[in-house]
Symmetry: C3
Subunit: 339 residues, 3 copies
């Protein structure tokens, strides 16, 4: 529980209302009750401010006259994310190292750890401080886990992977499996290209559940600082993803894809091999990235500019009408020619 | 083994033939041998009845004159599904609680359990009666599992998830990982929106292998009674799926999607955030659902009516011809103008 | 370490240069240093031969005059894959059977095994010789694993699965979960079609991470010899994949799909139920396979011939222009008619 004054101070807001009001909980606009803080990011919710049961609502300027306490900031959604953390983030408490851990030779373990039962560490694994390893986590030989990192249940890390600090990896994710590289021989049998490179997951990355991040042949597969992946994402061998880029579920990056920083990649996007996507690009859902994408580009469909794609798509759904108009013109010109 | 009379009674069929015939096994139409029951749902298989080696074939009226015993019902496929269950469903046998189970404080366990080795339960977990937990299952703090539910190997359930009765969850599925919510700060770093809501999987749901069902910020993620998910499906934070809806593999539901009851969602479909899909809608494979879908609608492509989409798609493949026709008309009109 | 002569002998190459040169490592063209072997498959890299720091470069004829040692073969990429194996493949070393293995009654174990901690075997499981089972592997009743096969961490094999020799299965993959078969009853509730068939993974297959290979109702699901699957792939119940076929990530094969041998299926492809794809077919990324595909066909989009699809797609992106041209023709014909 915090006072409105403490909360305003934490999120850098101006208070319009009772600074001594008590805030217990963050909540959605619709569900917020007395004791709750929420936010109103757009006109739709701002118009409903008089109906809000919340004790405080975070809004952007301009201030409106209303009954509820207001916290005024430039970016209400960002301020709300911080408010939720202030009110609901559980402080880290080390729960120790379970007796039921299997550990290879040469492992180095940090302090204040939370290693649950049924965790398996290979040889020469290095674990930082305040690391949480949930049950079923398996970490291969010579892999490293940075400080304050959490691996949820049944995460599999192969050998020779470097995971940074404050990283979160959700259940079922696999890091370091062999990249998909084969060459057919004279009889059509697929000969394996061994995958020998390391994997690098930098600080502050978050990786969703059941993702797969593959090992490259000779080039490292890299997630730069602050990359956020949703669930069921394929990161091919030697792919590199730039800082702070966010990727939605079921995206597939082919081997050697180079993605810039601060990009947004929506769900079910796929990329061809060795494509480069520039900084700050936005790729919309189900798009196919078949060629290099410039920095800042907004893309839909098969590598089209989003606006152009929308125009094409609108006309695609009008193709029966277009075909009919064409037929009519053909008829008229036939008649005119006949004259 | 059952007699044809017993089987007919169980599936509610009329017998044409020898009621005392013995049935050992259910089988496909093509493979069925003496002692087997199978079904002929369409004309294609009905025409092949004389060639069938089966002891009995389930068909819909009208009855045909043939050598094999017939079981006549309204819905042969449904009757066959029930016949398979009668002949092949293994009765539940409790195999007890393995000594090799890790259990937090405050857990409450029901009767007649089958808890295999290497299962891990957090604190205050509640397990109903006749529950089967295969090896590698991890269940987080305060989660609940209803009666007669089966979790296959290496399923990960996070904290605060409610799983109903008679639920089946296949291997590798992850329930309760954090929804994908981030807000970029002033420097472009992604600030995490904590995901605090519960997950609710109601009775009689079946969830395939390697699915991911995410936790919402404030709204529960819910699978209503009898929902069936195939494999590798992403259910975003706060998404709700209505009763008896079936979803094929590799579908991605964005956060906040509302899907009605009795819908059919085919493979690799994706939805935009906060879309509503009405009861009984059918979404065909690889469709992109970018706007609300009415109850009963049949959809293909980018949220098009299926028939309209098929017409567009047919003309899309004829675009080279359309372009050529347009060119010809342009030529003619140029000539006519010239006159 | 090998001499160039030994390497040339192993890969069947002609040496142009110093046969006594020592090779320590395989590497990419760009990164190769003294002591490394690399390859130059196309003109782009051949033109950069003078800049290479490698000790030897594998190329196809014709030979060029250059400073670096050359290994001349017909197929440089294939020869390189073999060179990497010669230099970097770790010889198998049995690490024994961990004391921390859970084993049902009637299991038969081969010789020279590497069974890591926390592996669980059901009843009557048969394990061949030199098999590696990483931590968290679960193998169900009556399943069999052939010689020299490796299952990585947290792989789940259900009951009654036959896995061949020299098979590699990456982490998180699930083999043998129930196929997705339901029939709605009179009230719309989905009645389960029990899935009773076996699974067969033949010799020399490699299956990526977090794949799902489902059990069929009555027909076996089969991966023929040498099939290679990337990550996050769905193989539906009763699907059969022919010898040496390679499948990229996030592909979904519906139940009963029949895929020929030596096919290439690119990422995010989906197939309708009971489709047949002929030998040697190539299906490009994100294609939807809605009808049978002939042997050797090259397919894009919705089951179109790739060239036809590319023409359609090019005109799709020009639809605004086509629409404008049509409008102009309409205007002109209106004017001409008016005269």
């Amino acid at each position: 529980m915090v006072t409105l004054a403490e909360l305003a101070n934490f999120i850098g807001a101006e208070i319009i209302g009772d600074a001594t009001a008590q805030i217990h909980r963050a909540n959605s606009f619709v569900s917020a009750q007395a004791g709750d803080v929420t936010f109103a990011a757009d006109r739709h919710y701002r118009n409903r401010l008089p109906q809000s049961q919340a004790t405080a609502v975070i809004i952007a300027p301009p201030v409106v006259e209303t009954r509820v306490n207001l916290l005024v900031v430039k970016n209400p959604k960002l301020a709300f994310a911080r408010a939720v953390q202030l009110l609901h983030r559980q402080p880290y408490k080390a729960c120790g190292i379970s007796a039921d851990v299997s550990k290879g030779e040469g492992c180095i373990l940090g302090n204040d750890l939370s290693i649950h039962p049924r965790v398996t560490l290979g040889r020469d694994v290095v674990i930082g401080n305040r690391v949480t390893l949930h049950p079923g986590v398996v970490i291969g030989d010579r892999s490293q886990i940075g400080d304050d990192t959490t691996l949820y249940a049944n995460v599999s890390i192969y050998h020779d992977c470097d995971i940074g600090s404050r990283v979160i990896i959700h259940s079922g994710t696999v890091i370091g499996a062999d990249g998909f590289g084969f060459v057919p021989d004279e009889e059509g049998r697929q000969v394996k290209l061994l995958q020998l490179a390391r994997i690098l997951i930098e600080d502050d990355c978050e990786i969703g559940a059941n993702c797969t991040i593959d090992r490259g042949g000779f080039d490292e597969t890299i997630l730069r600082r602050g990359v956020k992946l949703d669930n069921l994402i394929q990161v091919g061998h030697g792919t590199q993803i730039g800082e702070n880029t966010v990727v939605a579920a079921l995206v597939g990056f082919s081997g050697g894809t180079q993605i810039g920083r601060n990009c947004i990649i929506a769900g079910q996007v796929g990329t061809n091999q060795h494509i480069t996507i520039g900084d700050g690009a936005l790729i919309t859902g189900q798009a196919g990235v078949t060629k290099d994408i410039a920095a800042g580009a907004i893309i839909g469909g098969m590598s089209q500019d989003l606006r152009a794609w929308r125009r094409s798509q609108a006309l695609y759904s009008r193709l029966p009408e277009i075909n009919e108009r064409l037929r009519q013109v053909e008829r008229i010109t036939r008649n005119l020619k006949g004259k």
